[in-house]
C-alpha cells in the first residue's frame, strides 16, 4: 500500500483528478496533500479565523472529490481550479452570513505536466507564489486594496464604492488598472500568467 502511495506521488495533477473521478480515495489524498496548504491559506485569508477556514477547506475539497468530472484542463491547472472552488464557496459563505462581522481593519489593512519530484513541484509552487507577491507589490496601495476587498472579502463593486466613499467608476477603474498591472508584470518578464 505504501509502495502504491509512492507511485501516486509521481503522477501529475491531471492524472490524479482522472483517478479521483473514478472514486480513487488515495489519488484524492495525494491531491489533498499537494494543495491543501494553499487552499487553507486562501480560506484563512477570506474567513479570518481557523474554524470557519477549516469548514470552508473541507467543503471545497469534498466538492473536488464529488465533482472531479467538472474539471476542464483547458480552463487552467488543477491547483487553480481547486483554489477557484475555495474562492467561490468562500464568497458564497461570506455573502450569506446574516450579519457581516468583517471589521474596518480589513479595509486597512504552469506547473510541469509530470512531476519530476515532489520537492521540485513544491519549489515550483513557491516560486509562483513569490512571483505573484512581487507582482502585487508593484500595485499602488489604492488599487491593491480594492482588489483585496473584492477578491478576499466578497464585497461587490457597489459595496466597495460605499465603503470607501468613492465613485463607482473610480472603483471599476482601479480594478481594471490593478489587473492590467499584474498582467503587465508577467508580460514584461516574458512570462506567461500562471494558470
Amino acid at each position: 500500500m505504501a509502495e502504491r502511495g509512492r507511485q501516486y506521488l509521481i503522477l501529475a495533477d491531471e492524472d490524479l483528478i482522472s483517478l479521483v473521478e473514478a472514486a480513487d480515495a488515495e489519488a484524492f489524498a495525494t491531491l489533498y496533500d499537494r494543495h491543501s496548504r494553499a487552499a487553507f491559506s486562501l480560506a484563512y485569508r477570506m474567513m479570518g479565523e481557523r474554524q470557519a477556514s477549516e469548514d470552508l477547506t473541507q467543503d471545497a475539497f469534498l466538492k473536488v472529490w464529488r465533482g472531479a468530472s467538472s474539471y476542464r484542463a483547458d480552463r487552467g491547472s488543477v491547483r487553480t481550479w481547486i483554489l477557484s472552488i475555495v474562492h467561490n464557496r468562500g464568497i458564497d459563505q461570506i455573502r450569506s452570513q446574516a450579519s457581516r462581522r468583517r471589521t474596518q481593519e480589513r479595509v486597512e489593512a504552469s506547473a510541469p505536466r509530470s512531476q519530476p519530484s515532489e520537492a521540485f513541484a513544491e519549489a515550483w509552487r513557491n516560486s509562483q507564489r513569490d512571483q505573484v507577491r512581487e507582482a502585487l507589490n508593484t500595485l499602488p496601495s489604492e488599487q491593491l486594496k480594492i482588489l483585496e476587498l473584492a477578491y478576499f472579502s466578497g464585497y461587490t463593486h457597489v459595496e466597495i464604492s460605499d465603503l470607501l466613499d468613492l465613485p463607482l467608476g473610480t472603483v471599476k477603474g482601479r480594478m481594471r488598472l490593478g489587473l492590467k498591472k499584474i498582467r503587465d508584470y508577467f508580460e514584461s518578464r516574458s512570462a506567461a500568467v500562471p494558470r
Binding site: 502504491r4 503522477l11 480515495a25 464529488r66
Partner: protein, 255 residues
C-alpha cells in the same frame, strides 16, 4: 439595471472575474457571455490574472484533524461510488503491483540512475495510457447505459436560460411509471438556494421535487403526476423549497 451590451460587458468584466458583481448583474453578464462564446477566452484569460490573488496569502497550516475528517467522508463514499463504476482504481492497483515487481526485477539488471529515470518515465507514460483506457471504458459504459435508457424511456427535453449555458435536463418516463428529471452540467447554486421542480396545470404550479446540482449530474424523482399537465419547470428557490415559485424558470418544457 441597464441592458447588457458590448460597452457594458467591457465595463463589468473586471469586477466579474474578481467575483464583485451583485447577483443580478452577474447573471445578466453570464447570459451575455453565453450568447457571445467568442468572448469566453478573454474572460478566462482575465480570470487567470484575478485568480493569481489566490496564491498570495501568507501560508497557514491546517490541522491534521481536518485531513482525517475529510478522508473519513471520502473513504465512506468511495466504496459505493466504486460499486457503480468499473473498478478503475483496482485495475490501476493491480497494474501498479505488477509494475512494482517488474521494477524490482529490472533493478537487478539495470545499473545507474539514468536507467532508473527511463523506467520511471515509461511507467508514468504507461499509467497515463491506463488512465485514458479506463476513461474510455467508463465513457463506453455510460454510452451503453444512455442507449438502453433511450430504448426504455420516453424523454422530454427542457429549454431555458440554463440550457443556453450548456446545461441539459430531460424528463424521463421509466418503465416502472417513475418520472425523473435528469440534469447534467447545471450551474452551481449557493448553499442557501436549491433547484425546485414544478408541475404546472391550468396555471397552478405544484412543488414537485428539490435537487442540488452537482458536477456528476442528478436524477430527481418528480413527485406529482405529469399526466394532463401543461408545463414542467425548474426555478432556483431558497433552501428547503417554496410553496410558490419566487423566481423565473431557468428550465422549462411545455408538454
Amino acid at each position: 439595471m441597464s441592458e447588457m451590451n458590448n460597452e457594458r460587458f467591457e465595463d463589468l468584466k473586471d469586477a466579474y472575474v474578481l467575483g464583485a458583481l451583485p447577483e443580478e448583474e452577474r447573471l445578466s453578464f453570464e447570459d451575455y457571455l453565453a450568447t457571445h462564446p467568442e468572448r469566453q477566452a478573454e474572460i478566462d484569460e482575465l480570470g487567470a490574472v484575478a485568480g493569481l490573488l489566490a496564491f498570495s496569502p501568507q501560508e497557514q497550516e491546517s490541522s491534521p484533524e481536518l485531513r482525517s475528517r475529510i478522508m473519513e467522508v471520502v473513504e465512506a463514499e468511495a466504496e459505493p461510488r466504486r460499486d457503480t463504476r468499473r473498478s478503475v482504481s483496482a485495475s490501476i492497483g493491480d497494474y501498479l503491483s505488477v509494475r512494482s515487481l517488474a521494477l524490482g526485477a529490472a533493478a537487478l539488471l539495470v545499473i545507474g540512475l539514468l536507467s532508473w529515470n527511463v523506467l520511471l518515465q515509461g511507467q508514468v507514460s504507461d499509467l497515463q495510457g491506463q488512465v485514458r483506457n479506463a476513461q474510455g471504458q467508463v465513457e463506453d459504459l455510460q454510452a451503453q447505459v444512455e442507449d438502453a435508457q433511450a430504448q426504455q424511456s420516453q424523454t422530454i427535453k427542457l429549454e431555458g436560460s440554463w440550457a443556453e449555458q450548456g446545461a441539459t435536463a430531460e424528463v424521463a418516463s421509466m418503465e416502472e411509471n417513475e418520472i425523473v428529471l435528469v440534469a447534467r452540467n447545471m450551474p452551481s447554486v449557493p448553499d442557501d438556494r436549491t433547484c425546485q421542480i414544478w408541475v404546472i396545470k391550468d396555471d397552478v404550479p405544484k412543488p414537485s421535487g428539490l435537487f442540488q446540482p452537482d458536477g456528476n449530474g442528478t436524477a430527481t424523482p418528480i413527485t406529482n403526476s405529469i399526466t394532463n399537465a401543461d408545463v414542467i419547470a425548474v426555478t432556483v428557490e431558497p433552501a428547503g423549497g417554496s410553496e410558490q415559485p419566487t423566481s423565473d424558470p431557468v428550465l422549462l418544457a411545455e408538454l
